[in-house]
C-alpha cells in the first residue's frame, strides 16, 4: 500500500468532500508533506475521473434505485467543495479561484463566471448547519411579508409543493456586495436556493459550476438565479414552474 495506512480513509473522505474542516486541514497538511499519500490522492482521483465517464452513469440496478427512492428525508448534503486541494488541481480550484479571478482581472466572461462562483459558494455556505434560513416555514404568506422592510423589492414566493418542490423558507444574503433575497425550496434530499435582486440584464441561461446547476433568468425587473445540486434538467423544470407560478400569483397588498 503506497499511502500511510491510517490516512487512506481520510484521503477518501477528502476526495468525496465528506470531511469536516479540522480533518480537511489535517489531511491536506499531511498530503503536502507525504509523497505516498499525494500519489494515493492522485490515484483515487483518476479512478473517480474514470467512473465519471458519461457512459458509466445510470448503472445502479433497479432494486437499488427503489431502495434509494424509499429513503426517508435526510439532512441536505454537506458542502461538497474542497474535494481536491487547489495546489493539486488548479483547474478545479472552484469557487475560491473564481472569486480571486474577479479581483485579478475583470472581463465580461470572468464577471459572469465570478458571479456563478459567488452564487455557488453562497449556496454551499447556506448548507452549513444554521445557515440555510432566517425564516423557516412552508407557508408562502409568511415568507413573502418577512422580506418587507428588509429589502426594497418584493420577490415572488410561489407555492410549488404539489410539483415536488416544497417551500422551506427564506433568508437575506449578499452577492457582489449587494443584499439579495433568497427563497429556499427543497427537492427530495436536496436544497434549491433562489436568489433574487433588482436588475434588468435580460439573460436566461443554465450552466453547471463545480457540479452545481445554476439557472438564471429575469422577470419584471428582478434578476433570479436558482442554484442546486439536483440534475440540470430538474432545475430547468423548477425554473419553468417558478416563473409560471410567479406570474399567476395574485398581487399582494404591497
Amino acid at each position: 500500500m503506497p499511502a500511510c495506512e491510517d490516512r487512506s480513509l481520510l484521503i477518501g473522505g477528502l476526495i468525496d468532500g465528506e470531511l469536516d474542516a479540522a480533518n480537511t486541514v489535517t489531511i491536506e497538511a499531511h498530503i503536502a508533506r507525504c509523497d505516498n499519500c499525494r500519489e494515493e490522492l492522485e490515484r483515487l482521483q483518476s479512478i473517480r475521473n474514470l467512473l465519471s465517464n458519461e457512459g458509466m452513469r445510470h448503472q445502479a440496478p433497479d432494486l437499488l434505485h427503489r431502495r434509494i427512492a424509499a429513503l426517508p428525508e435526510l439532512q441536505p448534503k454537506a458542502a461538497n467543495t474542497n474535494r481536491i486541494p487547489g495546489w493539486l488541481a488548479p483547474g478545479i480550484g472552484g469557487a475560491l479561484a473564481a472569486s480571486l479571478a474577479l479581483v485579478a482581472f475583470v472581463g465580461p466572461m470572468q464577471q459572469q463566471q465570478a458571479m456563478d462562483a459567488q452564487l455557488v459558494s453562497s449556496h454551499v455556505r447556506s448548507l452549513q448547519p444554521g445557515h440555510l434560513m432566517d425564516v423557516q416555514t412552508t407557508n408562502q404568506h409568511i415568507v413573502k411579508p418577512w422580506f418587507n422592510g428588509k429589502i426594497d423589492f418584493a420577490p415572488p414566493v410561489p407555492e410549488l409543493a404539489d410539483r415536488g418542490f416544497p417551500l422551506a423558507g427564506g433568508r437575506l444574503d449578499s452577492i457582489n456586495g449587494r443584499t439579495v433575497a433568497v427563497i429556499v425550496y427543497r427537492r427530495r434530499l436536496h436544497v434549491v436556493n433562489v436568489f433574487a435582486w433588482p436588475a434588468a440584464s435580460e439573460r436566461s441561461r443554465l450552466s453547471v459550476v463545480d457540479g452545481f446547476a445554476v439557472a438564471e433568468w429575469d422577470d419584471d425587473g428582478l434578476a433570479f438565479a436558482a442554484v442546486s445540486d439536483i440534475p440540470a434538467d430538474e432545475l430547468r423544470q423548477f425554473k419553468a414552474l417558478y416563473r409560471s407560478r410567479s406570474n399567476l400569483a395574485p398581487p399582494t397588498g404591497s
Partner: protein, 93 residues
C-alpha cells in the same frame, strides 16, 4: 486557460470509448458485493456517506472503509501505473 481542440469524434474514437466503458463495467461487476455496492452508490449515484449508510444499513465508518477498499481494487484493475509505483517504492526502501 488551455485551448482545447474539439474535433468531432471519429468512429474509431467511439469504439475506443465503448471499449473503455466496457472495461470499467467489467471491473465493477467483478468486485465483491459490499465494495461494489458502496462504489456504485457513491460514484454513479452521487450519494453522500450518510445516505449510503442509510441505504446499506451500516455505520459511516464502514462506508468509508468499503469505499477505500473498493477504490483500491479498481485502481489495481484499471490503473497500469499502480504496479510500477509499488515496485519503485519497494526498491527505494
Amino acid at each position: 486557460m488551455q485551448q482545447e481542440p474539439d474535433p468531432s469524434p471519429t468512429p474509431e474514437d467511439e469504439v475506443i470509448r465503448k471499449t473503455e466503458i466496457n472495461r470499467l463495467r467489467r471491473a465493477i461487476e467483478a468486485m465483491p458485493e459490499p465494495f461494489r455496492e458502496a462504489i456504485v452508490l457513491r460514484e454513479l449515484e452521487d450519494l453522500s456517506y450518510a445516505e449510503i449508510g442509510e441505504v446499506t444499513g451500516v455505520p459511516i465508518g464502514t462506508v468509508m472503509s468499503r469505499l477505500s477498499r473498493g477504490r483500491s481494487i479498481l485502481a489495481q484493475e484499471l490503473l497500469p501505473s499502480a504496479k510500477s509505483s509499488d515496485e519503485a517504492s519497494r526498491s527505494a526502501s
